[in-house]
């Protein structure tokens, strides 16, 4: 039977096991929404396309499955761009579908025409402009394969309106075979041997978990490796949760906003095993001063990450899980020895009061183990990753690479739909909250019991802190002069609202919010003068951490 291109698309998505699509309609995707109406796929109407892409990303990260979103041509497509870029930087598998003007009008500056495949080319793993309805089934299968395999990432499918309308048989794509794309999964045996030999010779090995550990599902292997070798563990922001944050071997997050112990361990270690990470500048500080005493071993699925920012002694390209298994096998044959890493370090003291670390500590006490936290971007994010122990993979969902404000709320929407039985909490600031606000409507409509904690300092705190350090405390463009009443806002969206006035109330409010099974907005005032501490300033090595009082 002939069906139209849009119906073929939807059938192909069903065959990929898609259950939810985050979408926003428009003229170029009329047929796609029409076809979705008759599908088993649940179509979630978001309030802004950027929110749709972020929600798909939160869904993907909470579930470990490709997220899907759809938008119309032109402004619908350009509104997706920040969401696509955010997913690209954090290696999140997305399939993004956009409508396009009919093929005959492509290139004529038609109404709502933009070259979205061109715009998205630097921020997608691949993009398709579908020319023929006959290709659609294969393209969808390829898109999922590309998005999920190797180093995951977003793939865009741009579908001209006439392709959505064209009639054709649906023939499921049996097998994907892309001759020019064959991710390398098996690590080089000699390199693996070298990594093992150096590890057994090392006195003070440190293992760093990146987001790749979560993508590869290699948490158990990391745990095993740590047990055998007695190595210490640090993590990038993206890797948090892949190794238990409450394990005695865990020293915290590495980087310019890292934990002091983690940074000192890395700068003093003689063996640094980097697992699925990309040596981002916020992770290594000054690359020339990074881990100066260490042999650096880098395991990653993406060959282009090897030696990109920091030169390494032993590069291993392949699937992390396989490679770690191999290492563990060889190491258990009695090559390990007791380790010690001695270095001075400083523990940050958390004062009782209305400050983010202290509230987070209360939250940790009250929250279930599998609580999912999404964050926005700013000081509140850095405090979260420094102070909240993430014990399981996929429990932290935060924009690491792009640092996208406005990510937390839509990401929570996606995460809650992916994990309906888990509690999802958004940690945000008053600045970021106002960027993510459109999706409050979606959350309210779906009656999702998401908890949003707004840490309100009436400033763009992180930028203010940067102005404190780099602009001689001259503050510009960071103060919100009008006090907003977030409780009225909560009311407008039918959410339960709590405004915390003093520290004593914190446990009580959190407890109630965690137990009420309702959409809840909590506002917690904090001091705009609070600084994230310790931090490494631009150009310095990771050992040079500034510690601020308070």
């Amino acid at each position: 039977m002939h069906i139209n291109g849009a119906q073929i698309l939807v059938k192909a998505l069903e065959d990929q096991g898609v259950e939810i699509i985050f979408g926003y309609p428009g003229g170029a995707v009329l047929e796609i929404f029409d076809a979705l109406r008759e599908s088993s796929i649940c179509q979630i109407l978001v309030r802004h396309e950027q929110g749709g892409a972020h929600a798909a990303s939160g869904y993907a990260r909470a579930l470990g499955k490709t997220g899907v979103c759809v938008a119309t041509s032109g402004p619908g497509a350009t509104n997706l761009v920040t969401g696509i870029a955010t997913a690209y930087m954090d290696s999140v598998p997305l399939v993004v579908i956009t409508g396009q003007v009919p093929k005959a009008m492509v290139g004529t500056d038609a109404f709502q025409e933009v070259d979205i495949t061109g715009i998205a080319s630097p921020i997608t793993k691949y993009s398709y402009l579908v020319q023929d309805v006959k290709d659609l089934s294969r393209i969808v299968a390829e898109a999922f394969y590309i998005a999920e395999s190797g180093r995951p990432g977003p793939v865009l499918i741009d579908i001209p309106r006439d392709v959505s309308l064209a009639m054709e048989y649906y023939k499921p794509c049996e097998k994907v075979d892309i001759r020019s794309y064959k991710p390398n999964l098996k690590g080089h045996p000699t390199m693996i041997k070298n990594a093992i030999r150096l590890l057994s010779e090392a006195d003070s090995p440190v293992i760093c978990t990146g987001g790749g550990v979560i993508n590869a599902g290699a948490s158990l292997e990391v745990k095993k490796l740590v047990e055998i070798t007695g190595a210490k563990v640090v993590s990038t922001l993206m890797g948090l949760g892949s190794f238990p944050g409450n394990d005695p071997a865990f020293l915290g997050m590495l980087g310019t906003y890292g934990n002091h112990a983690a940074n000192m361990a890395v700068q003093n270690c003689d063996y640094f095993l980097a697992l699925g990470m990309r040596f981002d500048d916020r992770v290594v500080g000054n690359p020339e001063k990074f881990a100066p005493k260490a042999k650096i071993i880098h395991i990653d699925i993406d060959p282009a990450e090897i030696c990109k920012n920091v030169s390494v002694d032993v590069p291993i390209v392949g699937d992390l899980k396989n490679i770690l298994k191999e290492m563990i096998q060889h190491l258990s044959e009695g090559t390990s020895k007791p380790r010690s890493i001695n270095y001075p370090h400083h523990n940050v003291k958390i004062e009782e009061g209305l400050n983010v670390p202290w509230v987070l500590r209360s939250l940790k006490r009250l929250a279930p183990q599998d609580l999912i936290i999404t964050t926005d971007v700013g000081q509140h994010q850095m405090w979260t990753v420094q102070h909240y122990p993430f014990n399981r993979p996929r429990t932290l969902i935060s924009s690491g690479g792009l640092g996208t404000m406005g990510y937390g709320i839509p990401a929570a929407l996606g995460a809650q739909l992916a994990q309906p039985d888990k509690t999802v909490v958004v940690i945000t600031g008053d600045g970021s909250f106002q960027m993510g606000m459109p999706e409050l409507g979606t959350i309210a409509e779906l009656d999702l019991p998401i908890k949003i904690i707004i840490f309100n300092n009436q400033v763009l705190g992180m930028v203010r802190q940067l102005q404190h350090h780099y602009c001689g405390k001259r503050y510009a463009g960071v103060n919100f002069k009008k006090t907003l009443d977030f409780m009225y806002l909560a009311k407008a969206y039918g959410a339960e609202g709590f405004r915390i006035e003093n520290a004593q109330e914190v446990p009580e409010v959190l407890k109630e919010a965690l137990g009420n099974n309702k959409f809840t907005i909590i506002e917690c005032p904090i001091n705009p003068e609070d600084l994230v501490s310790p931090i490494v300033l631009a150009g310095d090595g990771l050992e040079k951490m500034f510690i601020f009082p308070g």
């Binding site: 630097p122 793993k125 001759r179 020019s180």
Partner: protein, 159 residues
């Protein structure tokens, strides 16, 4: 140092822009780029000459390999290759100079392909060195216009 990369890519629309976009946004310097279909019409060959140190060339190669449409990247710089470039030059030539230029071009096995009233067009193929030498030899006459195609390379067969 200049490196010559032989890159096999899918012959799809948009591939050239993906490759050139990659060079632009990562700040790599293309000296020359030639694209043409290969003996297999589904595959194109790009011959890219790029300037940079070992580190940059390694990154260029890896980033190219990462593009889904790229089938194979081969750095042929240190291989035994035949390299050719095509040159067209319009040079000033009054009647007295025409003979002299013709003689000169004979030495390079270059050809005169058009004769105007006061100018000639010279056509030549050769490696970069030879092309440079021809240009230098024509400079004293006054060069009006130069058009060069990018460099193409082929690895020599086993002896």
């Amino acid at each position: 140092m200049k490196h010559t990369l032989a890159v096999l890519v899918e012959n799809h629309p948009g591939v050239l822009s993906r490759v050139s976009g990659l060079f632009a946004r990562r700040g790599y310097n293309i000296t020359s780029l030639v694209v043409s279909e290969t003996e297999d019409s589904s595959i194109s060959r790009m011959t890219i000459v790029v300037d940079g140190d070992e580190r940059i060339i390694e990154q260029v190669t890896k980033q190219l390999n990462k593009l889904i449409d790229v089938i194979k990247v081969n750095d042929v710089t240190n291989e035994d290759t035949v390299n050719r470039q095509l040159l067209l030059v319009r040079v000033n030539a009054d009647n007295s100079a025409k003979g002299e230029i013709a003689q000169l071009m004979d030495i390079f096995r270059a050809r005169i392909v058009d004769i105007g009233r006061k100018s000639l067009i010279v056509e030549a193929t050769g490696d970069e060195e030879k092309i440079q030498a021809i240009i230098r030899s024509l400079q004293p006459f006054g060069i009006q216009e130069i058009v060069k195609a990018g460099i193409i390379s082929m690895v020599r067969g086993p002896k």
